[in-house]
């Protein structure tokens, strides 16, 4: 319980710091954030949007791992973990898309630009939309678990192709250079610390959400099995 309270305070501090710390041309004080040409205050999105996208990726990855585990062990508990993680991944992916496109309106001029990352998150949303459509179309716990795990794996192995294809078709708009240049992180220490705090806070939040969801689904399954 104390851990969760701590997480709440932690994330509140991240939000306060992320929004209120001033941006200056020459950061001298410990709380100064660097000025990024063309982004200005919009650079602060990195504290919220990037962790959401990261959590979505993490959640889908964990869902995939539990799907594979289910196929090899055939234990429904793995399926519960897999589907709970996929649901959370979908929520965070939608949040990342919405926040990203709101930001894009003010930075790139329109809500949707088919930037490589926008396209890949669009495909991810399609895949997991299809995943849940498939789950709702199957009766029988084992069958649903197997087929959806198989589908998630097939989608998981084809999705990386976009990494090779997309750069050929469109060019990227994401302002990576402002934060990472030539493979090295070019944020100033204050920004980096807040960013890492936000990243770890969001990750912890994800594991907490996953934990509550899994416990709930387990109870439901238990009751469901007893009733039959």
């Amino acid at each position: 319980m104390t851990l969760k309270l701590f997480l709440g305070i932690w994330l509140s501090l991240v939000i306060i710091a992320g929004i209120s710390f001033p941006i200056t041309e020459n950061p001298t004080n410990w709380y100064d954030l660097p000025f990024v040409p063309g982004l200005e205050d919009k650079a602060r999105i990195i504290f919220f949007h990037v962790p959401m996208a990261w959590v979505a990726t993490l959640a889908f990855g964990i869902s995939l791992i539990y799907g594979i585990k289910y196929l090899s062990k055939e234990n429904l508990d793995y399926d519960i973990k897999s589907v709970s993680s996929a649901g959370l991944g979908l929520i965070f992916a939608i949040l990342a898309t919405v926040t990203g496109s709101l930001w894009a309106k003010f930075s790139w001029g329109s809500f949707w630009n088919w930037d490589p990352r926008q396209t890949s998150i669009f495909v991810l949303l399609l895949i997991y939309g299809a995943y849940f459509a498939l789950r709702s179309a199957i009766e029988g716990d084992e069958k649903r678990a197997t087929l959806s795990a198989v589908y998630a794996i097939i989608a998981g192995v084809t999705a990386p192709f976009f990494i090779f294809i997309m750069p050929r078709l469109v060019e990227g708009l994401h302002p990576n250079e402002a934060f990472v240049s030539q493979g090295k992180i070019s944020m100033n220490p204050t920004m980096l610390v807040i960013f890492l705090c936000s990243l770890s806070g969001f990750t912890a939040l994800y594991f907490w959400m996953l934990n509550t969801k899994v416990r709930l689904e387990r109870l439901e399954l238990k009751h469901h099995l007893k009733g039959d």
Binding site: I19, M209, E220
Partner: protein, 44 residues
């Protein structure tokens, strides 16, 4: 609205943080609905 936001982009970030919060509230609502359903099932 658009004018104001593009001049004060800090509020864009504020909106973004707000959307994140709304996502978590949405998750809580869903969890709550599930718990309601489960409670009803256990009562029967």
């Amino acid at each position: 609205m658009y004018e104001f936001l593009s001049q004060n982009s800090l509020y864009v970030v504020l909106l973004i943080a707000l959307i994140g919060w709304l996502g978590i509230v949405f998750y809580l609502f869903r969890l709550n609905k599930k718990i309601d359903k489960l409670e009803k099932m256990f009562k029967e």
